[in-house]
Symmetry: C2
């Protein structure tokens, strides 16, 4: 299929769902009525790197959904609604029209569900499937955002949703030991879904901002790594009790099957695309009711033994787990 035909098909599948778009795909650039402040993030998904290349679960619609979802997750973590997405596709010759259309349609479904307008894109050929999605959200001013560097000493630390499901789902795809775990079909499907079709927490991010949360980050690399980013950016130390991390149903069974501590899967597995948030204690009740589980607190960072970052604890003592860095 010629590049130009593909672009036409790509464009034909898209719908505008806000009144911002003034000139859509088809000119040299898309033209959009701006808000006061643009919040922009770019994210790349490489098939065979970010997703296994030869697994029957990893269909074109999974690739499309996940590429847009992981980009939108960064906007969720800033507390802004989704505006526009710009999609650059690099397609290997093994991908035919049907694959590409399935990928774009899945992206468009998620765009519809999240209020995103796919406003532009680019199609190239290449040796592997590479999808780069740039997303833009609009805010009224730069203070109406959840920043990484805005945690304050005394804040409580929480997470949305449940963790470890993505790591367990990936294990079910790539680790033969994981398949020995006893799981009901529904639980198993939910673990796979968490890995393959993560949902960006856009509405929840905006709600946390309105409820008075201070800082947030999305959990792409896992609590162990991402909480460290918040701590270092804020010059503070996040103390997290790993046994308070909410674990998705089935994570414990998969962890047992692969011989890992389930709390480690929840803390270091990554790619759950939930939000980690800090908030002052007086907002803890309202924020908990919005769907946040409190897992720790923000402490002053002082001295060599308490550098800015994160410390993971169990029974009040720092953990010495190895292998905490996310696998990517």
């Amino acid at each position: 299929m010629a590049e130009r035909d593909l672009i036409s098909r790509f464009v034909a599948g898209l719908r505008t769902r806000d009144d911002r778009l003034l000139i859509g795909p088809g000119d040299d650039a898309a033209v959009v009525r701006a808000g006061a402040v643009a919040v922009t993030s770019t994210d790349t998904t490489v098939l065979g790197v970010h997703l296994p290349a030869d697994d029957p679960h990893v269909t074109p619609d999974v690739v499309g959904h996940r590429a847009l979802a992981t980009a939108l997750s960064d906007l969720a973590a800033m507390g802004v609604p989704a505006g526009e997405a710009y999609v650059a596709l690099t397609l290997p010759t093994s991908w035919d029209d049907g694959h590409v259309i399935a990928l774009v349609e899945a992206m468009e479904r998620l765009a519809a569900a999240t209020g995103t307008t796919i406003a532009g894109g680019d199609v190239s050929s290449g040796p592997a499937l590479v999808v780069t999605v740039t997303v833009v959200g609009w805010a009224d001013d730069e203070h109406a955002l959840l920043r990484r560097d805005a945690a304050r000493a005394g804040d409580r630390v929480g997470v949305t949703g449940q963790l470890g499901g993505s790591a367990a789902g990936l294990a079910l795809l790539v680790d033969p030991r994981a398949r020995t775990a006893t799981l009901t079909p529904n639980v198993r499907a939910a673990l796979l879904d968490r890995y393959l079709r993560p949902e960006p927490r856009l509405a929840l991010g905006q709600r946390l901002l309105r409820l008075g949360a201070h800082a947030a980050i999305d959990l792409s690399d896992g609590v162990a790594t991402d909480a460290g980013h918040v701590g270092r950016a804020s010059g503070l130390r996040l103390r997290i009790d790993v046994d308070r991390l909410p674990r998705q149903l089935g994570v414990d069974a998969v962890a047992a099957a692969v011989g890992r501590d389930p709390a480690q899967l929840a803390a270091a597995g990554g790619e759950d695309f939930e939000l980690l948030v800090t908030a002052p204690p007086e907002r803890a009740g309202a924020i908990a009711r919005a769907g946040v589980t409190w897992i720790g607190e923000v402490a002053e960072a002082a001295g060599d033994d308490a550098a800015p970052g994160v410390v993971l604890e169990r029974d009040g003592r720092p953990l010495g787990w190895a292998g905490f860095e996310h696998r990517a």
Copy 2:
């Protein structure tokens, strides 16, 4: 080199050159004070597809320069100044730190020369070098733009600069016959430079808008293809005399060596990244003085023999050249 270290190096090489950037690389997203209207384009460069993979001329700094230049060229064609760029790098294992730093430094040099702020990015590993650059420019309103669909019957059609140099430069890299062309070292170097280090015509695009041009497009695919986009978008027919296309010095010698009509190289070669523009006759003098050569006119499209698009002519008669579509 770990992904995180690479991002740090990447960020360390960047400089902010406008007062728009409120939160730069390091948070989940970049935060930028917006203008009234955002003009956004995304463009991918794949090494081995858009540039030959194993040619000693195709150094990392060529890849970096060209990836940003081709993206900025779309903003030039809209008549807006450059604002921010977001850079997604997919790096093969064969690329070491030195390669990546050279690529980023070349991008940063072009950013400095064009007033662009590289405000964010993403680094992944993958099987080939893929660079996706999303650029944003800001305009006061959507009418203060050069659009593809704004040509009017009676407009003159012009191009900036000189054409065919990029196609001739590429031929010098990949076609042994081209190397038999007799060229002075300077002329040869200029042809290679045109292909390897194109310059986006940002200042000229803005000037053409101020001088009253109607429509514009950047010449990525070549006059033959790109003029057709303007014609179809505007519902009109661009008539272009191929012998009036200004040819870069050395194009004729390379065309002779490879056995092609030099006007065909200028019309269909592509990747010169000059601008094609339409403007009313009363502005022709001022626009010519800005660096535009008039090559044709905009006619009404009427009937099957005169569909919207482009017709290439010689001595007043339509040309039947084959192979007019750009090679990509």
